[in-house]
Subunit: 256 residues, 2 copies
């Protein structure tokens, strides 16, 4: 039996996405790789799961690597559930998600399908990390990610992660030699200023495209946004206990 | 001009859901109500947003109440974005989401479309709360919710909520006189034990239904699960800074 770690790979851009293919090639150097990824893009799916309809999941071959691959009709969270419950016959040593085409820094963690796969793995008790490159293009160059992805993955395998914590890693869109290093950060406070672009269909019906611009509302130098703007890879420990513990005492003074 | 509060109402079960209709009827007693809700059920959608396709949003009349209503083709988070950016000409005083048909206690907050609407409103700087009844049935009886929903909504309007915090309220499936009161709680630690039920289509293809059972892993008596099992309405303050702040120092000792 292999002593190499069992690595589950997922993403949200779909099984053919170049970011995923790069991630698989790095993971093949570290362990035994099983890929369970959506059969179509699932960006912005947040932590959606498929409960009112059915799922399909079938083995596929996309390239000539040693990894096993499955294409799944569901969301990133579905893919992880499917992998852990149905496909793998033991718990993976790590789940890596990505490499996402585009930032998942700051508030984007909430909308991110990439991070929902990592969080779902964390919920299942699997150490997990989501990787994202700050370049939305399909043909983005992921070369500079390779070393950082490998370093962080090996650290997780060695150090483990405590229950309830996964990592959100974002990589600036720079050449490898321009990246200054890795910084552990907190999630910057920011939001999206939305604009709905209203159009009229050929049938005369109004419809909308959601557009918007991310606004950083945080001047701290310990945030992921600061790190990325200053040429660092950002690593944020993310938890899925969403309780605002510090506010419980205050709420107890309400007239409830 | 009306001095009554402007109340945005949303949900994830869709604009015709009985839980939403009950919530509207309670809110009509408190303020001026605008409803922006999905045109079809969006349960389990997590914090999904619609970025790769278009949205429709149109005024509708469902019943004879004074509220204004819009039916939207998107997710709960889309509905809130649409309301705040396009439909309302001032920021609402509160956003209430629900009443969900089924529990959003413990980890369910992560998968919940109901809570994603509340969180999205919180991100937009609107005080917000999600209400859920522990009864999944479409014809659930929401009568016992009425008083608790009113009390909590009025408290939020009076006390406000700090930036970055929204409330997750769950109501046990009991008669009003059987409910012992309201308890402020933390999110219980638990997870879902999934089971994929495999079937074969008439065309001979394998497909799956996601099923599962929630498992409470938390013995604490300060959790939402404990409160609900003991006959209380649970109120959990939820935050959307997902940083595990306490773990940053530890990560700085890694070999990154």
């Amino acid at each position: 039996m292999s002593k190499k770690p069992l690595i589950l790979v997922c993403n949200d851009d779909g099984i053919t996405a170049p970011g995923l293919r790069m991630l698989i090639s790095v993971m093949n150097e570290i362990g035994d790789v099983v890929v369970v990824a959506p059969d179509n893009p699932q960006s912005g799916m947040g932590h959606a799961i498929t409960i009112n309809t059915t799922l399909k999941c079938n083995p596929v071959t996309i390239d000539e690597g040693p990894q096993l691959e499955y294409s799944c009709s569901g969301t990133p969270a579905d893919c992880v559930k499917m992998a852990v419950s149905e496909i793998l016959n033991k718990k993976p040593d790590i789940c890596v998600s990505g490499i996402n085409h585009g930032s998942n820094a700051s508030l984007n963690v909430i909308y991110s399908g990439t991070m929902s796969a990592a969080v779902e793995a964390g919920i299942e008790g699997v150490p997990a990390v989501g990787f994202s490159l700050l370049n939305y293009k399909w043909d983005a160059n992921f070369d500079a990610c390779r070393g950082f992805v490998k370093t962080i993955t090996k650290n997780i395998l060695k150090q483990k992660l405590p229950e309830g914590i996964v990592l959100n890693v974002n990589i600036p869109n720079l050449k490898e030699e321009e990246i200054k290093g890795i910084k552990v950060c907190r999630q910057a406070h920011g939001n999206w200023k939305e604009k709905f672009e209203k159009r009229v269909s050929p049938q005369g019906e109004d419809y909308y495209w959601l557009t918007g611009k991310f606004v950083n509302l945080d001047q701290g130098e310990d945030t992921d946004i600061w790190a990325l703007e200053n040429g660092y890879v950002s690593v944020v420990p993310v938890k899925f206990d969403m309780t605002a513990h510090h506010y419980i005492q205050k709420l107890n003074n309400w007239d409830l």
